[in-house]
């Protein structure tokens, strides 16, 4: 496991899923207040990029733009079909202004 910098806090607008890549791992990043969440960007159900989906604040989840399963940012679990598997969740640390993801 390596901590990889994916940019600074200002690169990740509040509540907007944003794509990032860390050592070849495709990530969907969402900043909520002072916390930054990182999940795998590839929907486990079909070929879709979660960072193109919407952030659902009340569920703390990112919704897949294609078929609508929403993945919880903390557990990775989908809330509804068609996805039945969780996405991988990556630990994030913030060092000053630097966002580091453990991949």
């Amino acid at each position: 496991m390596a901590q990889v910098s994916i940019g600074s806090l200002s690169d990740f607008p509040e509540g907007t899923p944003t794509f990032a890549e860390a050592d070849g791992t495709r990530l969907c990043i969402v900043r909520v207040g002072d916390t930054v969440h990182a999940i795998c960007d590839d929907c486990p159900h079909a070929e879709a990029s979660l960072s193109e989906g919407d952030f659902i604040a009340e569920d703390m989840a990112v919704e897949c733009p294609l078929h609508g399963s929403a993945f919880n940012l903390e557990s990775g679990d989908p809330d509804a079909p068609p996805a039945t598997e969780a996405v991988q969740v990556f630990p994030v640390t913030i060092d000053g202004d630097d966002v580091l993801v453990e991949v």
Binding site: E63, P65, A80, P81, T84
Partner: protein, 399 residues
């Protein structure tokens, strides 16, 4: 898909006993829906379609037997006989035999150049033909699978003619009013659809060169895809004496058949659902199949587990994705939200004034609201459903 879900879930819920997963295909278990979408046009990442990774079975202690069929089973001795001569003893038996392609008496379907899309090997054979340059496809059958294959093909530079014997393709699953729109989106994208006419024969000497229609018209084609539907494979369940219903194997909410210790899941299962009017329904869709497999596994491992999921499915037709939740009937009243067109609209299905299903394109927010309405047991009025300013999730929360 349902069998794989059962095997994988058994371990997840802590089942300690032996698990044998038997499949007559040589491809390891995979997601079937991509076959008619990304696999035939070669854009699928097969490592993501064929899943979990093969080594997972060994790690999970699942004894995977591929290319082997279960030829017989005995409910008293609790054994299953495999086509390689092996015998497997079981405490619980999960039957997930899915559907077989429907046989139709169209002459020439056995010619080279005629394909089905029910299995991975068949989809890869189509992919190999399409990979060599633009082709003309004649697709027999205008159901979801035929329309998906057609829209995927035209999006990748091929031409496709869909021939559907019924007057309105997709009218049975979607209802006429909705099917008309979906059909137009496909024809707008270049798919040619000939409806209300049957195929008389597949033409060609040593290889399919097209099809001849009942009205005498000839459609030239480089390949013919037969997507005229499927029938549940009930043989094994019948051998065991399982009761049948609704064209499938009758199960209770734990997916158990009338024979103790024998479960039926996926396309073959006729199951009880509070979302349907019928006593038992059979649904040929992926998320339902996976949910069935998970429920059977839980019940085997823990003695608990009920399938209560809201049925849902999706269909990707080129760049259009249909998402449907609930159980619709062709005669349901349709209420639209949005201007009935792309990029975003939703059709609600009402029966006796009550919301029963919704089909949404490009409108995830409404779809999410509909799920919340079903979960809360709230059915808004037709006016509320039609009004894009009415927040369905808020109505659900208000109860």
């Amino acid at each position: 898909m349902a069998g794989r879900a059962a095997a994988v879930t058994l371990r997840r819920v802590g089942y300690q006993g032996e698990i044998v997963l038997v499949g007559d295909e040589t491809t390891p278990p995979y997601d079937r829906p991509p076959l008619s979408k990304s696999v035939i046009v070669g854009t699928a990442d097969l490592d993501k379609v064929i899943k979990p990774a093969l080594e997972t079975y060994a790690e999970d202690g699942i004894d995977l037997r591929l290319g082997v069929a279960v030829t017989a089973a005995d409910a008293t001795a609790r054994t299953a006989t495999l086509s390689d001569g092996a015998e497997v003893a079981w405490d619980a038996l999960v039957i997930a035999t899915g559907c077989a392609p429907r046989e139709v008496p169209i002459p020439g379907l056995d010619k080279p150049g005629v394909f089905r899309i029910t299995r991975m090997d068949e989809a890869l054979a189509i992919q190999a033909v399409l990979a060599s340059g633009p082709k003309r496809l004649a697709i027999i059958g205008g159901g979801f699978i035929g329309m998906e294959a057609a829209t995927a093909a035209v999006a990748h530079g091929h031409t496709a003619t869909v021939i559907e014997a019924a007057p309105e393709p997709m009218a049975r699953p979607l209802g006429l009013a909705v099917a008309e729109h979906v059909l137009r989106w496909a024809t707008d994208r270049g798919v040619e659809v000939l409806a209300g006419v049957g195929v008389e024969e597949v033409l060609g000497d040593d290889r399919a060169s097209g099809v001849k229609l009942a009205n005498g018209e000839i459609i030239d084609a480089d390949l013919v895809i037969c997507a005229i539907g499927q029938v549940p494979r009930l043989g094994l369940a019948q051998l065991l004496g399982c009761a049948e219903e609704a064209g499938g194997v009758r199960v209770d909410a734990s997916m158990q058949t009338s024979v103790e210790g024998v479960y039926a899941v996926g396309d073959i299962a006729a199951f009880p659902s509070k979302w349907a009017d019928e006593d038992r329904i059979r649904i040929e869709h992926a998320a339902v199949a996976i949910g069935h497999g998970q429920t059977a596994a839980e019940h085997i491992a823990t003695g608990e587990g009920l399938f209560e999921d809201l049925p849902s499915f999706w269909s990707d037709q080129g760049d259009i994705t249909l998402n449907m939740v609930g159980v619709a009937r062709p005669e349901d009243e349709i209420v639209w939200r949005g201007d009935r067109d792309l990029p975003a609209c939703t059709a609600f299905y009402l029966r006796d004034g009550v919301l029963r299903a919704a089909m949404s394109v490009g409108d995830m927010k409404t779809l999410r609201g509909v799920r919340k309405l079903f979960a809360a047991g709230v059915s808004p009025s037709a006016d509320q459903l039609a009004d894009p300013d009415v927040d369905l999730a808020a109505l659900a929360a208000a109860g």
